[in-house]
Subunit: 276 residues, 2 copies
């Protein structure tokens, strides 16, 4: 297991962690803080302009671990599924333009009015298969991220590493995995499924599960402030040969998003060295 106690090279800052910042501010802020990698969301890349975002990132020599995010495959009708595919193609083009290591995908939930989760899962498989044809042509790895089961209805009906691994088995080359501790820490099969994932793990995300958690979406904790066995999970991931970054991704409307983002970066770096 890698020693991060003096590291700053393996820390990546996900833009969701410093929500108040634009891409310009994220790039400058990380450069100032000696942080060498970022994982932006599409909204701030688009707001900056995709070409300009790429230039700013290259000018600071920043690594982009991944672009967040595409996916959201299930839809109520064929037009909806086509729109999702078109949007995913734009996302992968954006990922290429900013030199991202991968495009993170989440599955999507139930189409409006549906109670058919098996059907939604079939749509995810079919949508992924169609999208992979395109992603392979531009050689952009796709990192499917299983989300916590509490998002099964409205965000992602792929909720376990086992299910994501099954999809990788079925769909083959070009599809890998994003592992975020927040979504998978509770899984009794985590050790087995991370080992099974092996080289498929493209990107690794950290934060923490707070007790109590006051909001299903926007109350994630800073690494070390919650109950996730972070070191144990990183050991499992690194045992597969993973040698990439640890991306800090914290949705936190009532705490971290209200603080000075520069201070948040300092705390991320400290926790990266001490608890991640």
């Amino acid at each position: 297991m890698r020693d991060l106690s003096n590291d700053s090279k393996l820390l990546a800052i996900n833009s969701a962690t410093v929500k108040p910042w634009s891409l310009e501010q994220l790039v400058e802020g990380c450069a100032r803080a000696g942080i060498a990698a970022i994982a932006p969301w599409r909204d701030i890349v688009q707001a900056c302009g995709v070409e300009r975002a790429g230039k700013l990132i290259r000018a600071q020599n920043l690594t982009v671990t991944c672009l967040c995010r595409g996916g959201m495959f299930p839809a109520a009708d064929e037009a909806g599924r086509r729109a999702a595919l078109d949007d995913n193609k734009r996302a992968v083009d954006e990922a290429v333009a900013i030199g991202a290591g991968s495009l993170v995908l989440i599955a999507g939930g139930l189409p409006k009015g549906s109670r058919d989760i098996d059907g939604a899962r079939r749509q995810v498989r079919d949508g992924l298969a169609a999208f992979l044809d395109y992603a392979r042509t531009v050689k952009m790895p796709l990192a499917l991220e299983p989300l916590h089961p509490m998002y099964a209805a409205d965000r992602a009906c792929v909720n376990t590493m086992a299910h994501a691994n099954d999809l990788c088995d079925e769909l083959g080359e070009g599809l890998g995995l994003a592992v975020d501790v927040y979504h998978v820490w509770w899984d009794p099969n985590l050790r087995r499924e991370i080992a099974r994932a092996g080289k498929r793990i493209i990107t690794y995300h950290v934060c923490d599960w707070l007790v109590p958690t006051k909001d299903l979406l926007l109350d994630r904790g800073m690494p070390g402030d919650g109950v996730i066995g972070l070191r144990d999970i990183r050991a499992m991931v690194e045992a597969t040969g993973y040698d990439g970054h640890c991306d800090v991704e914290i949705f936190s409307a009532e705490n971290w998003w209200k603080r000075d983002p520069a201070e948040v970066l300092r705390i991320c770096l400290d926790r990266h060295r001490t608890v991640v």
Copy 2:
């Protein structure tokens, strides 16, 4: 699959659904509404007095599907584990006194300050094994209820039917399962694991998953108001031979708990006949 369209015999009302009511009010209210079964929580049984609760229930000839709930095995030290065992023995004695069909158990979460979910799971297994010795002597079935993974930290670190089935395999006679659609509806292995559970399913609980869900604990929906494929899951459960009740258990601080409980009962009966 049973036809519930004219049924009232297979509906049970969990006391959490009509939170404002005491046990006395629950018993009278169900009798008035022509509902023949209840599933009380321990708090209202204790507030009524256990012996008196048993008398009231028998006087109205009500079925008690289960008593909610015991469990909560992991603790920071041996004294805590002993206290949990003692409390569970009291719970099982209460279940006997009111003629419950089973005592529902939830696993319990991480001990305070712990990040060791594997360790907590070992404590659950050991605590269950010790408690089973006692429960068998009074012939009270224990119904282990896997809870949704969003409760893994603070309420229950047994979060899937597969894990609960594994514990039943290991611990043997006297340990069965409580299946609550709210906790398991998202599970991609649900069909397989319900079939595997077979005759172990002692009690079946219904409610619904709302979109959006505003609170992790207290925002459950009335059957039919959410996205769970209720008929599909009941079909899986009944395919095992389950011929017991459908218990309606709704934690709903901002909606159903604020309504007239007698009206809530009428709606439960209507949904039992039309969507459960």
